[in-house]
Every structure is written in C-alpha cells, then in structure tokens.
C-alpha cells in the first residue's frame, strides 16, 4: 500500500517535527493516554480500512453480515430504540402506578424490577427475606401479585422485560397466566426475560441452583417458547452486571459472548436446531463514560457474535447472527456526591448507546447512588433519551462514527482481545468450568481493584469524588420503602393460601417434583399448572431446591 505508507511516513515527520517542538516546551498532560478500560490511544489514529474487501469483511452495511454497522437496514431512521425504564418497588399496586406514569410520559416498553427475595425464589414470609421485601423491586409471591402488577395494562399492546434469572420460568409462567386471564393468547405476548444464570454466578449473585439444572431450566424455556410463545425473547445475555462488578469493556463483551456460546451449545446438545432459537437470543450491555470506546465496544460485539454464530455454530438464518441488545447506562459511574452531575454522565452514556446502535435503552436517574429514584429524577432520565432522539440529530444517519480512525481501531482492538478471552474460556472447557475455576471472577475483580486504586490515588478523576469536591449537600428527597411492606405481603400470601385449592396445588407441586427428577421432562408446562393454582414462588422454588440442590459461590480473592 504505497499510499498508506506515505501517510505513515508523514506521521513520523509530523511527530518528530512540530509535535516534538511543542511537547519539548509544553509536555502533554500524561505520558500515556488510555481509554477508560486501559486500551492505549495514540495522539492521532490513521485510516486502517483501505480496500473494498476490508470494508466488506469488517463493516458491511446495516442489516448485513457481520452487522458491525447495525442489525437493521434503516435503524433509527425507521423508528427510535425502545425507551424502557427499569422500574419496580414496594407492592404490586405501587409498581403498577409507576408503570402507568411512565407510559403516560412516552415510555414505550415496560421493564420490571423484582425485589431480591423474588429474584432468589423466596416468599416474602421466608426468614431469608427479612429486610429485603420490596426494596430493590416489586415483591411477587403468587399469581395474585402479578395480576395486580399488570392491572389495566393490556399485555397484547406492551412489550415487557423482566429482570429475572434463576426463577425466570416461574415468572414467565405467571405472565402467561395473567395474559390468559386478560384473554390474550400466549402466542401474542411479547417481551423478554433475562434468564441469564451464568452471569449471576460470576457477577450478580441471584443464583439458586447449580449450573447443570439451571441450564436445563433455560433450555426448557427455549423449547417451550419456540412452540408456544414465539414472540418472546427467551434470554437476555447480560454483560451489564459484569461491567458493574468492575470488568473492563473488553471483558464485558468477552464474558457475555462466552456465556452466549455456552447457552447455544447447551440448547444444541438438547437436540434443538440452532436457527430454531438463536433469533430469540438478545443481549444486554452497559454504557459507560468513555464515549468512543463504548461505541467501538457495541460494534465489536456485533461483529464477533455474527462470526461465532456463522462459523462456530453454522447458523443459516441471518437473524440468528444478529446481536440485538438492550443497554442501561452505567450504575457504578453514578456518584452520591453532587448527584446532579449524574445527569451529564447519563447523557454521554446515552449518546454512546445510541451511536453504538442499541435496540432499547434504560437511562439511570441521577439519584440512584443514594437510593431508589424519585419520579422527578426518572422523568429527567427519560427526557435525556428523548432529547438525544429528537434533538441531537445523531439518529439521522446510521452508524455515524464509522470511518472514524480511532473508532475503527478501537473496534478492531476490542474484537481481537475478545477473541483471546473466548479462546481461553474454551480451553477451560467452556464458561461453566471457567466460573467454577474462579478464572472469570478473578479477572473481573482484578480490573475492579485496579480501577478503584486509580480512583484512590487520584490518577483516575471522578468529578465531585476525588476532584472539585464540595461539602456534601444532602439531597432533598429520597424515595423510601415502607418497612411494613413485608407484613402486607405476608398477609396477602395468607389470604391466597386460604382461598386457593390446596389439593390441586399439592398435586401440581408433586408433579413438578417428579418432572424435576427426570432430565428429559420440560418443566415449563408443570410450572404453569402450579402457578395457575396460586402455588407461591417459594413453594415452587423449594421443590426445585430439594431436587437440584443449591449453588455455592466460588470466590478467589
């Protein structure tokens, strides 16, 4: 390439000429410049894609393999991403009200936050639930709560995302049952369950069962939904929490895609055809402050996944190769100090997600480092998305940062680092082994430790935390959850237990137990039978606990 050689030569004389002259007198701010995740960044980047072949291999066109530039041919020129604020707290009644408020503000999809007992399969009256009922999300014990939660919300009109993993099958069953009661067929409901257990083991912590039975439950859901709930996204393979736990951008993508590989392998092993379920897989990523690195991350993730599906799993349908993803702005980037600054951070992260081609987005509220978000703060967060969508102009052309020398270089760099991790995890024998071994956790912890050390030393500047600090002003308003809530839930469970058909509950739970003993049985229909009769979440999960055992975390510090 004589042309690019020419540019390379010119760069050298530029560096040794006028650059040196300036830096001799005024050194640059730092010796080395790096992205937020420690990828070196040069003074200037130069073109790296110089031929048509390279362009086609690396980028292609939106809606075409390898989907680097986006999964749809028109992207936001067709319609904006789904604005989906994650919400839920307290009782089903309170959350129902919040959902209606959000929809009245122009939100286009629901995203349900469950409290921790629900996420770990404990009823509100379980001793483990002490202090936790209704705290980080809504408490769901029985179908009754779910009916209240969606009261007045037509399930054929909304798409609903549920952040639920270990007991995903139970909550999905409840959702189907509520739809049925509204007269909506399960063929017509659409939404997503997170259903991603592997990242729970490595980063998020709401696991119940060991990997093997957990993967069985996931495959059961894939199979069931392929036939019965065709519009449902059966899994949202999540890097969000991996990043929150302190990983780098590269690790976020690498570990998420490696999780994806494990799920695909498991489903294929169970006898499914890859194209029968792969188009229902969706992803969930974080968006941090380093704008250009984040954009490159999303683009690299799309490219790697497309290659994995095509080359490793021999998917035929382009839909199976498309990495569709939801994004949430980075919770761990929010500061309790000067919380209004968070609005700015969220705006940058929103831009990163949109320039990166997200399919849906949750923007965090400025007060989330302090507690649950207030209605006011949630509105600003939603408005941030709307301003980017309607006012910024970045939505007019697809993948507008393509061709930026830096962004293309970062995309390549992230891709190659991601492949290294994926290969390494394959050497372990897959993600389950790599987790049991503690490898993944250790990698994340080391990055988190390094990050925090940099913050402590002031090397990494966080506005209001280690620079430009002011005496802490106490926030005016914080949303709190009524501590009486647990008692309210306990009363509700009591009422349900009194009025339900206990004989039927018992017999369905017995059937579930029996099914759990036989690995070839799909548990979804059995769980659906049990929830219809108002078996509690805890009762169902306890049956499975007894049969499957419980996972114990693997810590390497």
């Amino acid at each position: 390439m004589p042309e690019s050689k020419h540019i390379e030569d010119r760069r050298k004389s530029w560096e040794s000429g006028i650059v040196k002259k300036v830096t001799d007198k005024n050194p640059e701010r730092k010796k080395e410049f790096m992205t937020g995740s420690w990828i070196p960044v040069e003074r200037v980047h130069l073109p790296s894609i110089t031929t048509d072949t390279e362009y086609s291999e690396k980028l292609g066109f939106p809606g075409e393999y390898p989907f680097t530039r986006g999964v749809q041919p028109t992207m936001y020129r067709g319609r904006f991403w789904t604005m989906r604020q994650y919400a839920g707290f307290g009782t089903a009644e309170e959350s129902n009200e919040r959902y209606k408020f959000l929809m009245s503000q122009g939100q286009t999809g629901l995203s349900i936050a469950f409290d921790l007992p629900t996420q770990i399969g404990y009823d509100s009256d379980d001793p483990h639930s002490e202090g936790e009922v209704g705290k980080v999300g809504v408490a769901i014990d029985t179908l009754k709560d779910m009916e209240i939660l969606f009261n007045g919300i037509p399930l054929d009109k909304v798409s609903t995302s549920m952040t639920i993993n270990a007991p995903a099958a139970v909550l999905l069953a409840m959702y189907i049952a509520v739809a049925e009661k509204q007269g909506v067929s399960r063929q017509d409901i659409n939404g997503t369950i997170q259903n991603d257990i592997l990242k729970e083991y490595m980063a998020r912590g709401t696991y119940i069962f060991p990997p093997k039975p957990s993967l069985r439950l996931i495959t059961n859901i894939f199979e069931y939904c392929a036939k019965e709930v065709p519009k449902w996204n059966t899994i949202s393979i999540s890097g969000y929490h991996i990043r929150e736990a302190g990983s780098t951008a590269v690790q976020e993508v690498a570990f998420t895609l490696a999780d994806g590989i494990e799920y695909v392998k498991t489903a294929i092993k169970a006898g499914m055809d890859v194209d029968a379920f792969a188009d229902r897989l969706s992803f969930f990523f974080n968006s941090h402050n380093d704008l250009l690195e984040e954009v490159a991350k999303f683009r690299a993730a799309r490219r790697v996944w497309a290659r994995i599906m095509k080359e490793k799993f021999h998917a035929k349908s382009p839909k199976s190769m498309m990495l569709r993803f939801h994004t949430q702005t980075g919770g761990s980037t929010l500061t309790a100090q000067q919380p209004d600054n968070n609005i700015v951070r969220v705006a940058i992260q929103t831009l990163a997600a949109v320039l990166g081609g997200t399919q849906s987005l949750h923007t965090n509220s400025r007060d989330e480092a302090l507690g649950l978000p207030t209605e006011d703060a949630v509105r600003i967060a939603l408005r941030t998305q709307q301003i980017v969508a309607y006012e910024s102009g970045v939505t007019n052309s697809i993948d507008p940062l393509a061709g930026s020398y830096l962004v293309e270089d970062l995309t390549d760099k992230i891709e190659s680092e991601v492949w290294k991790y994926i290969d390494k995890i394959e050497e372990f024998g897959g993600m389950v082994r790599a987790i049991e071994n503690g490898f993944v956790q250790k990698e994340i912890q080391d990055a988190a430790y390094k990050y925090q050390r940099e913050v402590e030393s002031g090397e990494r500047v966080i506005m209001g935390v280690n620079k430009f600090t002011v005496k802490q002003e106490t926030p005016k308003e914080i949303l709190t959850v009524d501590p009486e809530l647990r008692n309210i839930q306990i009363r509700k469970i009591g009422e349900v237990r009194k009025t339900r058909n206990s004989e039927a509950v018992k017999s369905y739970l017995d059937e579930l137990r029996n099914g759990a003993k036989h690995p070839e049985v799909n548990l979804m229909p059995l769980i659906l039978d049990a929830v219809r009769e108002y078996a509690t979440l805890g009762e169902i999960c306890n049956v499975l606990r007894e049969e499957f055992g419980e996972y114990q975390e693997s810590i390497v510090l």
Binding site: P210, N437, G438, G549, Q552, E553, I555, L557
Partner: protein, 319 residues
C-alpha cells in the same frame, strides 16, 4: 486466665475463640492456659485435609461436617491460609463453603493465617488443637493447601491425613513429586464426575503400588468423591472409620501421637533454652555488634558463640 480455661472446658465459644487468639498472638498467658487444658486433651480425632488449591477441600469438609453432625458429633475446623509476605495481611475465605454450619452450636470454624511468627503456624495450630480438644470437640479438621513445608508440618499434627486431588488441575503429578504423597493416609479423588478422574486414580494406584510393592497390606485407600454433589462422602467416612480403628488397634495411632508429642517437647525445650540464653545476652540488641565483629574478622563465628555459651554455663556452675 484460669477463668478462661474453665470456660473453654465448658465449651464456651467466645472463650475458645479468645484462647486461640492468645495462642496466635503468642501471649505469655497462653502457657498456663495450655497447661490447664492439657489433662483434658486426647479425646478428639484430628484430621488433616490437604491438597492443591481448587481441589474442593472446603466443600468436602462441608459435607463431612453435615454427616458427622447427624451422628451428634461436635466438629471443629481450623483452616490455615498463607499470610501475604508483603503486607503481613491475609484474606481468609475457606469458611465460605462451610457457612451453612455457621449457626450450628456443634460446629466451630476458625481461620488462621500462617503469619510466619515465632515457632511458626505449626506450633500455634498444635496449641489450638489442644484448646478444641479440651473444649470437647470430637473431630478436629485442619485444612491447608498442600504445597509447602509449612503446610506439611501443619497436617503432620493430625492423626489421619486426607490428601484431596482432582483431575485436570495439572497439579497432581507435581504433588506426587513434591513428596506430598508420603503424608497422605487416605487419598481422595474429588470431582470424580470429571474427565480424567479414573486416570488420576490409576496414576495414584501406580505410584502407591511401587511404594508398597513389598507390603501390599499397607496399601493406602483411595476414595472417589464428588463433594459438590454430595457423592462418595459416606463411603469416605467408612474408610476413615476403618482406618482409625486399624491404627488404634495396631497402636500406630498411639505411636504417632507420642512422636508428635516428642517433637513438641523438643521444640518447647529448644525454644525456652534459647530464649533464656538470648535474654541473658540481650541477644537481639547485641546481634549487630557481634555481626560487626565477625564481619571485620575481629572474631570468628564459632569461637565467638562458644565463648559466650561457655561463659553462661560457667555462671550456672555447669562447667
């Protein structure tokens, strides 16, 4: 102090924990404490559990505790982990996998860092075993990573050593080379569901087979387990029971304990004598001065020390 010993004998958890701290911190009061407890020792079985990191030792122990508790036995665990050579600090996380027993009154778990202080962790562990023994625990398990000399010393304090190995860590052959094989009484191939488990078993059999070619009756047992799935644990406990019975019958248990006591008495003696002589010469403070003299060739190392010791002995009228 006597008060503390009395409380330990009654099984008071706080007192037991405090007594072990005294030992760890090498407080002078620990001597009277140990002496007060000593007559009550000798009833517990002491197991050493060792193996490479990631072998599943803690998980295995967790399941052993579960079964022993069903038999109403009181179980104590001492989990030893290395201290950081840089900061002297440590992260002690072994009890994590045994936390389901945290609230069981019949179970006591203590994490110890190797510290590398006077007498080493082995002596501290040995005294901590006495505290737990006197406090009425039926089974005391000492868990260490089987890598270095310190760890071998620590598990050497036990009546039975369970050596836990797993396929696929790449450590197993090294372990055999390092001589860890010698200290194992019972071999456990954990994670037996994994590829390579049978191969590992065959390798161990081969190595032991050579070792005991002339005494096949002394061949050591090998047990296959999958601790995380609760498989093979009952079988393991049958093997340990048989083994314990065997060594009690042929008196090798008593011999082993006596040997252990011998090295302990020897160590205490050496330590005490050395401490007295050191004190007499204000050793720590004068060491530099002596070194200086030797360094400048004004003194020679053996003559210097002999001179000092002879002086001491003459003063004692021993010479």
């Amino acid at each position: 102090m006597i008060d503390l010993a009395e409380k330990v004998l009654k099984g008071d958890v706080r007192a037991i924990a405090r007594a072990i701290s005294w030992i760890e911190n090498n407080r002078p009061e620990k001597e009277n404490l140990i002496d007060a407890l000593f007559p009550h020792c000798g009833n517990a079985q002491v197991w050493g559990i060792t193996g490479p990191p990631g072998a599943g030792k803690s998980t295995l122990l967790d399941k052993i505790i579960e079964i022993e508790r069903r038999k109403q036995k009181k179980v104590a665990v001492i989990a030893v982990d290395p201290s950081s050579p840089f900061s002297g600090g440590a992260i002690l996380g072994d009890r994590l996998r045994m936390q389901s027993h945290a609230t069981d009154e019949g179970v006591f778990i203590r994490s110890m860092a190797s510290r590398g202080h006077l007498g080493g962790v082995a002596q501290a562990t040995s005294d901590a075993i006495k505290v737990l023994d006197a406090a009425g625990f039926d089974l005391i398990a000492i868990e260490t990573i089987g890598v270095g000399q310190t760890e071998i010393e620590v598990v050497g304090l036990s009546d039975i050593v369970l050596l836990v190995l797993v396929p696929g860590l790449g450590d197993e052959i090294q372990a055999m080379k390092a001589g860890v094989m010698e200290i194992g009484d019972i071999f456990i191939v954990n994670k037996k569901d994994r590829d390579g488990a049978l191969k590992l078993r065959a390798e161990i059999e081969y190595v032991l087979g050579i070792q005991f070619a002339d005494y096949p009756e002394k061949m050591k047992p090998i047990v296959m387990t999958a601790a995380s799935m609760n498989e093979g644990i009952e079988e393991l406990l049958t093997v340990t029971d048989d083994y314990f019975l065997k060594i009690s019958m042929n008196r090798s248990l008593q011999d082993k304990r006596k040997t252990r006591l011998k090295s302990e008495i020897r160590q205490i003696f050496t330590q005490k004598v050395s401490a007295h002589v050191k004190q007499k010469y204000d050793f720590e403070n004068r060491l530099d001065e002596w070194v200086d003299a030797v360094y400048k060739k004004k003194k020679r190392p053996y003559s210097l020390i002999n001179e000092k010791i002879n002086l001491f002995l003459r003063e004692c009228n021993w010479l």
